[in-house]
């Protein structure tokens, strides 16, 4: 058993006991910081494992994204919820954030399809109460939809685990990746049920109905964790099943669901009235693209990894900025936010940068990622999907940036004090990182 991975999972889990400690806020920051240090160690040493845990080139990117967004979200949350002081709710919130991060890291490293399913379901259990720190009826309703729809969907992916166990008599991921089982109707059923089950968690159309509600009603740092890393963890689970069960018809099915999800989000985006909800639909679009990238493989897989990491930071920055705006304007409506440039200059910069990043504008990593995914798709002969995706991306780009421009540039407002320094710093640094990611990938030798 590898101690680094054990510590990576155990540190947030143990630090969640900070609920009982006086220094619970410091403990949460320390836990997230240690997780980032361990993730960097895993990345730099290019750790490869396939025993009790599975760590390879793919999971390393996910791990670094999870730990980074976890740290940023903890720091942001401490400022965002400062009015809650040292209340029981605040303690519970930070403890659950630790458990949430631990369950995601467990899912990313576990080497068994059954336990992977358990890890994904554990992320639902640990994250549900994070939505309702303020106990407002609307938030409770959103949390309810999240827990019921996602759990009901995930049960179907358990069917996939059952079918795989029947077919392969083994659930060890690394073993099944090497001893590729021959394609059969059972592998097709396993892939199809995994697509529906994990697809619910990813937010693929038409199983996405919980996603806009949960993202718009969750506290902003939780929206950032949901959008930036939780949904990619579910994509990881689906991709592992796909690796074992892939066939041409399954590839087509996965691409179909990816394209339909992108189309749907492009249709929904122009009519959005609430900015957090708008970013939630933008997440659906990006998840569709990442799924397609993983499915195609080759340069599209590289593109999907770049998109995944950039999107994690970009969408994180978008939600952190949204949180700062909500704190100042006390409204989630796009039409209620005017003159942001004058009223909150730093937040307006992070909002613009992040909205450009998540909609794939050059020179952000998302542009490079999307370009590689579309190239991969084109080279594999999927011409119609390429056309539909390009059209959808243009609509999404126009819609999100039009709404954001209206918020930033329309009207005149008197400058007021921004949110706390830590909140502004987190939003700005997350959006700045999105600009650096292509260079980091270059330095790491991926591109």
């Amino acid at each position: 058993m590898n101690l680094v991975i054990l510590f990576l999972i155990a540190i947030p889990a143990v630090f969640s006991l900070g609920y009982f400690a006086r220094q619970f806020k410091h403990m949460a920051v320390l836990s997230a910081s240690l997780t980032v240090v361990l993730s960097l160690y895993i990345m730099v040493t290019q750790l490869d494992l396939s025993g009790d845990f599975l760590v390879d080139y793919l999971s390393r990117y996910f791990i670094i994204a999870i730990s980074s967004i976890y740290l940023l979200s903890v720091v942001f949350g401490l400022g965002y919820h400062h009015k809650m002081g040292e209340s029981r709710n605040m303690r519970l919130h930070l403890s659950l954030m630790d458990l949430f991060a631990s369950s995601m890291l467990f899912s990313m490293t576990v080497n068994n399809f059954g336990l992977l399913w358990f890890g994904i379901e554990a992320t639902t259990v640990s994250s549900t109460l994070l939505l309702v720190i303020e106990r407002e009826p609307l938030k409770i309703e959103a949390a309810w939809r999240y827990v019921i729809i996602v759990s009901a969907g995930l049960t179907i992916s358990l069917l996939s685990v059952l079918v795989m166990y029947y077919d392969f008599n083994n659930l060890t991921i690394s073993y099944l990746l090497i001893h590729h089982p021959a394609y059969s109707e059972l592998t097709a059923i396993a892939a199809g049920t995994a697509l529906i089950g994990y697809g619910t968690k990813i937010g693929l159309f038409p199983m996405h109905t919980w996603l806009p509600d949960a993202h718009s009603e969750a506290p902003s740092e939780i929206s950032a964790m949901f959008s930036g890393v939780l949904l990619p963890v579910a994509i990881y689970a689906l991709y592992r099943v796909y690796e074992v069960t892939a066939s041409p018809s399954i590839t087509d099915l996965f691409i179909f669901f990816g394209v339909v999800t992108i189309l749907f989000s492009a249709i929904m985006l122009p009519s959005q009235r609430f900015y957090k909800r708008m970013f939630a639909y933008s997440t659906m679009e990006n998840m569709g693209l990442i799924l397609i990238g993983f499915t195609i493989g080759g340069i599209a897989l590289t593109g999907a990894l770049i998109l995944l990491v950039t999107h994690a930071f970009g969408k994180g920055a978008a939600f952190y900025s949204s949180g700062n705006i909500l704190e100042n304007y006390e409204s989630k409506k796009i039409s209620d936010v005017t003159g942001l440039r004058e009223r909150m200059p730093y937040t307006s910069v992070s909002l613009i940068l992040s909205s450009l990043a998540v909609t794939g504008a050059p020179p952000f990593g998302t542009f490079l990622g999307e370009f590689l995914i579309l190239t991969g798709l084109y080279l594999n002969g999927y011409f119609l999907p390429v056309g539909l995706i390009v059209a959808s991306l243009l609509i999404a780009f126009g819609s999100v940036n039009f709404h954001v421009s209206r918020m930033v540039f329309s009207g005149h407002e008197e400058p007021v004090s921004e949110s706390s320094r830590s909140q502004v710093a987190v939003a700005l640094s997350a959006s700045a990182i999105t600009l650096l990611i292509p260079f980091l990938f270059l330095a790491y030798g991926v591109i």
């Binding site: 939809r145 827990v147 009901a152 049960t155 659930l171 059972l186 718009s216 929904m268 959005q272």
Partner: protein, 206 residues
């Protein structure tokens, strides 16, 4: 031979309880029915455990009774409003729900017959599969929090029944699934407020 017939009878009882849940309007009897279903599921696990000499299935049966039969009932009952003796689901008519569930039952049998059965050759698996479908139907057709929970428990019971009749999953994973449902029920009951119905909300549309 006699054991397989007993399994068949228990499967039929479980399926019957699934259909009964669909037509229930009052929540407390609905909870009792799903608890009964869990107990029958446990008996099935014991019988399969005896016939296949698998002691872990007997342990699993005990856990099903404790976790789903006793604890799930306890947590759900705790949240039932005390001011009202009978909590009634108002969002459906019995006739239409019976019709939907029968149609869903036939369709799920057909899907199982033409997808799983030609490869797996386990006829009782159809019961588990149709339970999953019925659980999903319960969640989608009702607006009551308790009905949603019960639909979810039914789905998970369906998975366990399928697993028992097709290929028992490793014990560690079965335990994980059971604990997971319990954790979800505990977390979910924290979200059940005085208003257990889920109406349309303008801010959560579009």
């Amino acid at each position: 031979m006699i054991y397989s017939e007993i399994e068949g009878i228990l499967g039929a009882l479980i399926l019957g309880s699934t259909l009964v849940v669909q037509t229930r309007s009052y929540i407390r009897p609905m909870i009792n029915t799903v608890v009964t279903q869990s107990v029958i599921l446990a008996v099935t696990a014991i019988i399969i455990g005896i016939t296949t000499s698998a002691p872990d299935l007997i342990v699993l049966a005990g856990l099903v009774v404790v976790l789903r039969g006793i604890l799930v009932r306890h947590f759900l009952s705790l949240r039932l409003p005390k001011t009202r003796m009978f909590v009634k689901e108002t969002s459906h008519g019995v006739t239409s729900v019976t019709m939907y569930s029968v149609i869903a039952l036939i369709l799920s049998f057909l899907v199982y017959r033409y997808t799983f059965f030609p490869i797996i050759q386990a006829p009782l698996g159809a019961i588990g599969f149709s339970m999953i479908v019925q659980g999903l139907l319960l969640i989608t057709t009702r607006r009551n929090s308790f009905a949603h929970f019960i639909g979810y428990v039914e789905e998970e019971n369906g998975i366990i029944f399928m697993s028992l009749t097709i290929v028992p999953l490793p014990f560690l994973i079965e335990i994980s699934v059971l604990l997971d449902v319990l954790a979800l029920i505990i977390v979910g009951t924290g979200l059940v407020t005085e208003n257990v119905e889920h109406p349309r909300v303008e801010e959560l549309m579009g």
